[in-house]
Every structure is written in C-alpha cells, then in structure tokens.
Amino acid sequence: MARMSMVEAIRDAMDCKMAEDERVVVFGEDVGYFGGVFRCTDGLQRKYGKSRCFDAPINESGIVGVAIGMGAYGLRPVAEIQFADYVYPGYDQIVSEAARLRYRSGGEFFAPIVIRMPCGGGIYGGQTHSQSPEALFTHVSGLKTVIPSNPYDAKGLLIASIEDDDPVIFLEPKRLYNGPFSGHPDQPAVPWAKHPLSEVPAGRYIVPLGKAAVRREGKGVTVLCYGTMTHVAEAAAEETGVDAEIIDLRSLLPLDVDAIQASVEKTGRCLIVHEATLTSGFGAELAAQVTERCFYALEAPVERVAGWDTPYPVSEEWDYFPGPARVGRALVKAMET
C-alpha cells in the first residue's frame, strides 16, 4: 500500500504490467524520454528500454493504427493520445479498425489495445484541452470505455484494461491527476494523499470493467456520474444536504445496469451528471436506459446536468463547467418534483 496521486497510480499500472508481461509496450507523443506531458510514463523508458516505451510522431491516426498492427501481432500496446481533444484524427482507426477486427475476421485477429487519454476540463484549457468525448466511443460496438475517478480505481482499471482482449478507451480526467476536485476552483487544491482512495496496493490487482461503485449511499435520489463529476456530485450532496446516492460508473461500456437499476428502484429519482456537452452525451443513453428499466419506479423525470452545447470556452470556464452549484440545484429540484 502506498499513497499515490492518479498520475502515479496510472504509471504504476503500466510499470506493473510492463514488468510482468513483455508484450506490453507504451508509446505516444512525448511519452518516451520525457515521460509524457502529464508525467504518466515518467521513468518507463529508462526502466524498460526504448523499444518498450518510446516517443511517437505527432499523428494520432498513426499511433492508433500501429497500435492495432502491434496488437494483431500479439503485443499489448498502451498508446497515449496527448489530449482526448486530439483523438479525432485517430477516430477512423478506432471505429473502423480496432473495434471491428475481431468481428470481421471471425476472431482470427483482434486488437488488445488500450488508448489512454486525458479528458475533461477545469484547467483553463479551452476547446482543445477540455473535451469529454466518451459518447463518441460508447456508440461504437466493439469498444469498451472506461473512466476512473481516483487513484485506486485508475490503477485497477488500467491493469484490467491492459489485460482485456478488446480495445479499451481509457479516459483520464486530467483535473484529477494531482488531486480530487470538488468543482470549486476558488478552494485551495487538495492533494490525493488526503483522500482514502489514494491508498493503492503494490503490484497487480484489478478493478473489473463493468462494475460501478457506490460513492455515497442515499435514499433520496440516484446520481449517475463518472470521473471528475463524482467528486462534484459528492460536494453538491454535502452542500445541499440532499440524501443522494452517488454511483461512480467507472466503466461506461460495459455498463453496470444492475447497480443503476437497484439504486433507482430504491430512490425513485435519478440525476445524471457529466462534463460532456448535453445533446447526445452519454447521459442520454443513461436516461433512456433508466426510463426503459425503471419506468414504474420513477417518481420524477430523469434529469441531466451536463456541459452546455457549446465548444468549451476558456475564460467562461466556470460558467461552463457543471459545478456543485448547478448539480446542487438539480438535486434540490429532483427532490421537489
């Protein structure tokens, strides 16, 4: 056990898998000698050599494309996209190739790859360093989509993803890299060390894909969220005193529908929170499924709090970000209807 930041936990997951499995290779823009712009791969090249951890040309399509080729060969590549906002040039390789190989080859070829990328806002990064594109992956059959909210999960989910034989999109909320974030930019930054979920076991362990975690038990309203919003929702519940049950989905696909259903059937109310823009966000799928599965238990419409349907701005960041105030208002409203 050690206290780790999310960056350290992510690095530790790769370190652990690189040590025990020669097939694991790690690459991406600036990840080799320098160790990544967020330092997630720091030290790995020194430890495992240049042919297992290396810098890639600035070509996200190529990064994903060669990862697929490596995966088809039999390696287990972990590719980093420097920011999730830059994954789109590689989107074709992800959708048309990584996600389809196994199916179209009748199982002969597959792409056991992990594509890691920092996502989400809160760092004044503007429209090209703040996006949350998870819904663009959950719509694509053949992909798994994972997003941790704390160091413990980050390591366990990343190890599970590397061991998984399907392509995994691994989204890392960059605002959580170095500390939990309740959504109050004016409050002093807190390090992970103060948070219980920064206790990270040494060595290999997994957090299975497809299992949600209840972050806070409650009877009033179910909050479905993931990533940074887990912490924001916790803050909003504390601040409003609403008896919210907060579910951190952790993996969006596969989705833990049992956990969702059980909670909504208990509370009769459901609020969905995500950073991504509202329309066609993953919240829409969650809302649809909750309504399909729990219709007769629902006492109020399922509500969504999400990023506005605009590009992510810079100076209006805190008007854009679905912070504890907005989430809190929605919690209160949910209890009133």
């Binding site: 080729g69 060969y73 390789q93 190739e97 009748g106």
Partner: protein, 410 residues
C-alpha cells in the same frame, strides 16, 4: 509590379475519355534490364532516380535481361504461371456467380495477377500481408484452398467470417493474410505496426502492406510512411498503381506530374518503380525488399505499375469513363501472356501445355465452386445462423448483446 493575372483551378483530366484513342505515353516506361540492382544496404539517397524509371526483366521478345533476372527455375516459373492462371479463372468464375445471384458483389484482379502471386513467392511462412480487396493472388499463390475463399464469397455456413464481410474481404491468418478492410488505406499503418512489433519482439518475420494508387491519397498512407521512416521496421510498402480508382484516373491521386514511388523520398525510404506485369521483375523486386527487411535494414516502398483491366467491381461500368479498348493498348501487356511467352522462349513451355493448364485450372475452379455451393450461397441453402451476429463483437459477449440476441429470439 504588374497587375496579377486572374487565377484558375487546375483539374487533372486523363489523356482520353470514352471514344478517344488510348494513349499511355505519360506512363514512363524504361527498357527491360536498364536499371541496376543495388546492394540491399544501399543508401536510399543513391537510388532516388529509381522512382522515375522502371525495373523490368522481361523484354519485348520475352527474354529475361539485366541485373534483376534472379534465380527462378522453370519449375518456379511454371508454378507462377499457374498461380496467375488460377487466379484469373477464379475471378472469372466468381464474376459469373455474382451474375447468377450467388453473391452480391465481386472484385476481380484481371491484368494485375503477377503482382500478388510473384510477391507472395518472395515471402516466407510467418510473414504477414495486409492486403486490399484486389490481392486474392496472395492467397492463391500461398496455396490457400479456393473452396474456403468461395465459401466466404457465398457467405455460406462454411464461411469462417460468418457472413459478416463483403465478398472477397477474406481473413486467413495462417496464410499470412490479414483481414481485409472495406476502408481504404487503414491497413497500411497496421502493416507498419505489425512490423514494429516483430522488431520489438526480436522476431525474424516481416510485414507487407498493400494500397492502391488512388488510396495513397488517404491520410493513412502518410501515417504509415512516417512511422516506417522513424522506426525502420521490416515492412514492404506496396503501391499498386493500376491507373484507375473507380472512375478517377491516377492524376486525381497526384500522379499527373509525380510518380508514386517518389512519395518515399521525403522519408528517406528506398523506393522502386517496377513493371507490375512482369512476373520476374515483381519477384526480384519483392525479394530485394524482403531481404532488406529481414536484414533489419527497414522499409522499402515499391510502386507496381499495372493496369486495372476489368471494371472496378461488379457495381461499376468503366466504359462510362474510359475507352473500352484501353487495356489492349496498355504498353506493359498481359502478365500471363508475357510469362507464357518467356517460358516458351526458354523452352520450358508450349501452347499445348498452356491450353492444358488452362483447362486444368478451370476444372479446379469449377469443382471448388460446386463444393462451395453445396454449403450454400448468399440467398440459397445453409447460411451462418443469425445468432453468430452477436458473437465476436467482443471476446466475451457482454450482457447488452446477450439481451439483444434474446430479443431477436435466436
């Protein structure tokens, strides 16, 4: 300063359109034997002019000449001839099956048979090809059962791909044949990545990537070249320049004033431009590139110059956009005819034996077709069960797919 002229857009246009007289003067053809054969560790900068000439072995008389002649025995050559003839007969039969409604769609490789078949001969077991939809010759030259290929085309119960893929988009890992993508270009970076993996693993196997000249315009072509240039993995990057991309001639891909082989120069990747209708030249150039790759000398790009003699696919009518008789005027001829003449010239073949072989391959194809059809065709007979539709989306079927399968009731 003088007043500037009004600008105008240049839109490339082929020299001839339907009704016109075929003209291939722009192709850029060299004499057989003209181009030297450099050592495999040549500095790419020393052979830049290779992109602007053409490696050819068989001359107009059918003699094999020059430094690229190589060491193929008459047996090898007869096997090569047979591979090409079987490929052509296979294509002809599948075209017919399409017209008979036994499959929805077919893409033949008429006129380009030398490239895939001779290239395959230069590879070893364990090497991996990343083909497009026009490299059926790779499988046939490997000796892969054509019945299996037909079952895929008919999407029948024996189709290992379970009716999931368009006809001709095979997958045959054992034969070093990567699952063909319907998306152009995507497999080029896979070839590079696979080759990088081989290098990372200290393996000896090499990769061979394939792309059409039209698809070199795709971004993935660039991705592949960038990564190949940087990491120097053991990969052969094949560009099949068959002059056409559906209705667009090669000028629309940038071939009007440049040669595709020269695309490699900006990456310091050595590049050859080769007569793709010359079985001996294809084999020799492929071998050179394969030896380079195996010696850890890195990638080679090869532009194979050929002509798409048939329609793009069964959905296409080329007489709408090019002269009907263009193939007859194609200066590099027919690869089967040329190898046949060479074999006769060296006394290893005859018109008689050729006819016999033609009958043989046709019979082989016919018999295979019968067997394949006995397992079903697209609209007739046994087919993969609908339940398989939900399988292999993931390694293990996730809950939502199990539920959907139940909903369908299969």
């Amino acid at each position: 300063m003088t007043s500037a002229p009004r600008l105008s857009l240049h839109v490339p246009e082929p020299t001839v359109r339907p009704g016109g007289k075929p003209d291939f003067s722009h192709v850029g053809i060299a004499e057989a034997g003209e181009v030297p054969r450099p050592p495999i560790d040549v500095n790419p900068s020393e052979i830049r002019d290779f992109a602007y000439t053409m490696i050819r072995v068989l001359d107009d008389n059918g003699d094999a000449v020059g430094a690229w002649v190589g060491a193929l025995t008459p047996d090898d050559l007869r096997k090569g001839l047979r591979d090409m003839m079987l490929t052509r007969a296979f294509d002809a039969r599948m075209l017919l099956s399409q017209r008979q409604g036994k499959t929805s769609f077919y893409i033949q490789s008429l006129g380009e048979e030398a490239i895939a078949t001779a290239h395959r001969k230069a590879l070893k077991p364990g090497d991996m090809c990343f083909p497009t939809y026009r490299q059926q010759g790779l499988l046939i030259a490997y000796g892969w059962p054509i019945v299996d290929m037909m079952c895929q085309i008919f999407a029948n119960e024996q189709d290992r791909l379970k009716g999931r893929q368009l006809p001709g988009l095979y997958s045959a890992k054992e034969a070093g044949f990567f699952t063909v993508s319907g998306n152009l270009g995507t497999q080029y970076p896979h070839a590079v990545g696979w080759a990088m993996a081989s290098a990372i693993s200290g393996d000896t196997r090499i990769a061979s990537g394939w792309i059409g000249e039209g698809a070199t315009a795709e971004s993935d072509f660039h991705s592949a070249l960038v990564f190949a240039s940087v990491y120097r993995p053991p990969v052969i990057l094949n560009v099949v320049n068959n002059q056409w991309a559906i209705s667009s001639y090669q000028g629309i891909a940038g071939g009007e004033s440049a040669k595709f082989a020269a695309r490699a120069h900006g990456f310091a990747i050595p590049s050859l431009r080769v007569d793709g209708n010359d079985y001996l030249a294809v084999y020799a150039a492929s071998l050179w590139a394969a030896e380079r790759a195996r010696a850890n000398l890195g990638p080679t790009l090869i532009e194979w110059v050929t002509y798409r003699a048939g329609a793009h696919s069964t959905s296409d009518d080329p007489s709408k956009y090019r002269p009907k008789d263009e193939w007859a005027a194609w200066p590099l001829g027919d690869p089967i005819e040329r190898l046949k003449i060479h074999l006769i010239r060296i006394g290893a073949w005859s018109e008689e034996r050729h006819k016999q072989m033609q009958a043989e391959v046709e019979a082989e194809v016919l018999e295979a077709a019968k067997e394949a059809e006995s397992h079903g065709t697209l609209h007739d007979g046994p087919k993969p069960s609908a339940a398989t539709m939900f399988e292999q989306v993931y390694k293990d079927m996730p809950r939502h797919l199990r539920e959907q399968r139940q909903q369908l009731g299969v």
